[in-house]
Amino acid sequence: MNALRVTTTRIFYAVLLLLAVLVLNFTMMHLAPGDVADTIAQSMGGADEETMAQIRADYGLDKPFIVQLGSYLGRVIRFDLGYSFYYNQPVTSLILQRLPATLLLVFTAQLFAMIVGVVLGVISARRPNGILSHFVTFISLFGYSAPVFWTGILLLIAFSLKIQWFPVAGMRDVTLEGGFWVQTLDIIRHMVLPTITLGSIFLALYSRLSRASMMETLGSDYVRTAKAKGLTEREVVYKHALKNALSPVITLAGLQFSAVISGAVLVETVFAWPGLGTLAFQSILARDTPTILGILFFSALMVIVGNLLTDFVLRLVDPRLKGRA
């Protein structure tokens, strides 16, 4: 019952937060110079004041700010994110077409970074002065300091152009014929480089954090107790130390959700990955306000849901958090 109450409180706060994000996004968009009327006028090859005013009136852009905000919120609650005049289709369906590709990339990259990062962290924590540990530190520093788009381009040059292991761009080969497995394998081949690129920054964070966290738990009293029980090295490290060391890693994963999504914009652009990132990039260039707002809304939604999930997983790992707000 307590757990249920905690969950409902969490969800209530999440909804409030989402609302705040919506208001903030809309306000900022409104404050920025230029609107869709400019873009339409531009594509028509220029327009006079009268035509501009007509366009603004047609799309409700001449109404007071508060009215525009109100009608925007009203529509979002009904999951109507407006109509993209640039792409000529409803924003919701536009985003839903692109969302799976981004989710696939973001989750795979997070999973890759987390698993490899924790494994590297644990290995180097057990021999903090070993060669492998120094190697992990070096890789982490490199991965963290190199800009994602640069890493992406280097990987492209190395593994798509010089050694032609992986495709250069896109998510699938449209000319490919074959059943489900052939298609899946094709998507996986397309995913390898973007996943490594997007994962590289986070890999560094995870490996450093799990190394530090693991070294702390390995020196703790309960690990000494586990050794005094005569348990094997494996049980001591993986059962007793690792489960305790995971909490900060999971917390970081939740915080990183937002960063992964912003990183996805760059990576998707480099690899022409047909996800929200490329959509965001194109619609910003086109000043396609409804689409940008829609993408912001979805990213906020993803971050908030990601945080709720993190919270939930943390409670599974650490019994001390059960039933606490």
Binding site: K227, L231, D318
Partner: protein
């Protein structure tokens, strides 16, 4: 009968920034079957190091047994394989620690933490180990063991956690239980309960106990024999009542005089609390060929500063490492 545990000429070296220091220097001791002895001394005298060495748990890469031997039931432990040591740890020799608050793993139930040692050493299955864990909780007098077995350590008090630690340590009915200041972190009423429990369990199982403490009261209550340690060396050894009534080492007399006296009548004039002046020397001072206690000793003479005193035997059971032991 051969002693259960026999430590001979044990030297443990710690790698410090200033170089290698002998944290235990030429230590000899014996523990008989079913006997209870106490290691007494200030912090930093090597009591816990000795215990960790017996467990084979000296801090990796920092501490090592440099020479000497530790024989358990006739088996040499200093050269035993890690695999063999794991079989002994928690099974034939087990240990409870000073800090019950942090010695249990926060993310597992106490039942799991007890059951796991039974599965490791007794070959019990999940169910049998769990049932045994409930019985052990009952044996260490935790009320309502059937439901408490599923509690997490954070849901228990310090005294209860130490009881759980005792349950873990005694799960496989070990031949030796090492208790490293088991009550230091607990309040006084709980301390008495834990000592009662240890005494009862010892009577039931016949386990030998090594108590590490600086509480003279605990020594008198729990042990037959005591070993006073100072700066990594044995200062004095003997039956508890004899040592307390007639100490043969100035350090022992100092420790005993530090125990405050409870007076029957509060109007009586009170004695000042006494102390042993000075502090235990730093690790870098260890290992010199002189009496390391001399700088703090009221009886120190030139001889004390020129050579390390040997263990002088008094009768069959006592010894003292003091040049002036005969005069005391």
């Amino acid at each position: 009968m051969a002693p259960l545990l026999k430590v001979e000429n044990l030297r443990i070296e710690l790698a410090t920034r200033a170089g290698v220091a002998p944290v235990i220097d030429n230590l000899n001791l014996e523990l008989a079957h079913g006997e209870s002895i106490s290691f007494v001394g200030e912090s930093g005298c090597g009591k816990s190091m000795t215990a960790l060495a017996i467990m084979g748990l000296l801090p990796e890469g920092i501490g090592r047994v440099a020479s000497g031997s530790i024989q358990f039931d006739g088996e040499e432990l200093t050269t035993a394989s890690p695999r063999r040591l794991r079989q002994i740890r928690g099974n034939e020799i087990s240990m409870i620690f000073q800090e019950p608050m942090t010695s249990l793993n926060p993310v597992y139930t106490v039942g799991e933490q007890i059951a796991e040692v039974l599965r490791a050493h007794q070959g019990l299955g999940q169910k049998a180990a769990w049932a045994q864990a409930i019985e052990l909780l009952d044996a260490v007098q935790i009320p309502n063991p059937k439901s408490r077995v599923e509690a997490y350590p954070f849901q228990m008090s310090g005294g209860q956690r130490q009881r759980v630690m005792i349950a873990i340590a005694l799960a496989c009915t070990p031949k030796i239980l090492i208790a490293d200041e088991p009550t230091t972190a607990l309040d006084v009423t709980v301390q008495a309960q834990i000592f009662d429990l240890l005494r009862d369990l010892r009577a039931q199982t016949g386990t030998s106990i090594i108590m590490i403490t600086h509480d003279m009261g605990a020594v008198a209550e729990m042990s037959e024999r005591m070993i006073v340690m100072y700066a990594g060396r044995k200062a004095e050894e003997g039956p508890v009542d004899q040592v307390i009534t007639h100490a043969r080492h100035p350090y022992t007399s100092g420790l005993i005089s530090c125990v405050p006296h409870i007076m029957a009548n509060l109007t009586e004039e009170r004695h000042d609390l006494t102390e042993v002046p000075g502090i235990v020397p730093g690790l870098s001072e260890f290992g010199q060929d002189l009496c390391l206690f001399a700088p703090r000793c009221p009886r120190a003479s030139d001889k004390c500063l020129s050579a390390r005193p040997p263990d002088v035997p008094f009768g069959s059971a006592r010894s003292s490492a003091c040049w002036h032991a005969e005069d005391l």
